[in-house]
């Protein structure tokens, strides 16, 4: 059985339990449900909210280096800290936070495999005590835009016939739905997908218990079934770029694709863009 390309980016719930008091480790909870941290979280974990803390509140973008420095300093995360993310929904939001941290240049980022669900199912301890960490003086020295694709990059990528993974549901991919089922307000004016993109719904990469599928299973899904080849330059997208950060993580670290970018503009940009080519079966 093959191993993940970068097995060290995943840590187990037991590993986290063993490192709860390690001063060089910062456990970060990032969830879709904004109250989960408040009703109980892993001891010493700090909360990072993608909505209020990682996204710019005015422009459709992430916070810039200055705000990120302030956020990290206030959370008590230093430049050399190892950040272990976990969250709800098979680590969907944890991967999104990890991707954003990486864009903003934080180096050591790991994921607790199985996320919040696995921790809870194993009946491990949760606390309501908010961790107080000493403030740091965080500095962003360089950001990493190489993992982020903008619409012009995607146009070129498409024109070059390079592979793309559309991680939305089959109905969104086919254009039958203009938004995710149950999410009517994040729609687009046009339905379909970017020409050339293959459809692999993001959760295909996750097991029932929230952990990632094995390297062999992932290779079968993305390579045997969808034709990705090692060395490919890949773009992943969804509707607003959060589900696709889960797939970005899988391709980048678990399957080891060097060049994979998350297109965070995703369908809410492409499907509203005048004259953007669309494929619809």
């Amino acid at each position: 059985m093959a191993e993940y390309a970068n097995p060290d980016v995943l840590v187990s719930t037991q590993w986290v339990a063993d490192h709860i008091d390690d001063p060089n480790i910062v456990i970060v909870e990032s969830d879709e449900d904004v109250l989960l941290y408040e009703i109980g979280h892993i001891k010493n974990a700090v909360k990072v909210d993608w909505q209020n803390e990682l996204q710019d509140q005015l422009v459709r973008d992430y916070v810039g280096p200055e705000k990120f420095e302030k956020l990290m300093s206030e959370k008590g995360i230093s430049n050399d800290a190892t950040v272990v993310f976990y969250g709800d929904k098979s680590n969907w939001w944890a991967c999104y936070a990890l991707w954003t941290f990486k864009v903003l240049g934080h180096e050591k980022c790991l994921i607790m495999n199985g996320g919040r669900q696995k921790w809870v199912e194993e009946e491990r301890e949760l606390t309501k005590d908010v961790a107080s960490r000493e403030k740091t003086n965080y500095k962003v020295s360089k950001t990493d835009e190489s993992i982020r694709a903008y619409r012009d990059d995607v146009s070129k990528h498409m024109a070059a016939g390079k592979p793309m993974i559309d991680v939305r549901s089959p109905k969104e991919y086919s254009g039958e739905l203009l938004h995710m089922e149950a999410y009517p307000q994040e729609g687009a004016l046009r339905g379909g997908h970017i020409p050339g993109a293959a459809n692999v719904p993001w959760a295909t990469a996750a097991n029932e218990d929230g952990t990632f599928k094995s390297a062999d299973e992932l290779s079968d899904i993305y390579e045997n079934q969808k034709g990705l080849k090692k060395g490919d330059d890949v773009v992943a997208y969804c509707r607003i770029g959060e589900r696709s950060s889960h797939t970005w993580f899988v391709l980048k670290y678990l399957l080891g694709y060097e060049s994979v970018r998350n297109y965070d503009g995703s369908w809410t940009e492409w499907g509203n863009l005048v004259k953007a080519p669309i494929e619809k079966p």
């Binding site: 449900d33 989960l36 408040e38 149950a182 994040e186």
Partner: protein, 141 residues
Amino acid sequence: MQRIEEIIEMFQSADYQETLALLIDYSEDLPELPERFVENRDNGFNQVHECETPVFIFIEVQNDKVDIFADVPEESPTVRGLVSILVSAFDGATTSEIEEAPADLLMQLGLAQKLGIRRVRGLSAVYAMIKNEVKKQKAGS
């Protein structure tokens, strides 16, 4: 029953942390679903399908008075809290009070700005369901 105006005022004057604390209180205060609805829930009746989280709403109208019962899993405290706001505001109300409740209630609560639109959008479906169901049962009675 809390008056809707009071709830709106409370949320409007709450800062971010206070909003979270209020939502947790509401989430904890949602009454348990009465036994007589459990079978229907388990069979998938009365689910609000627009919500990604399994949310079930049961409405009874008797002598113009509306009783609202809801079921939302405890693992989804935000959705539970949001639904609980509506239950708290409208359980025990008269049909006309519910019919006349403001269409832009959710906007007035100001939660979309604080929590993000994607976290509150399911609530408009729940609100619409309550209003429709009351209208339907009133017309049928």
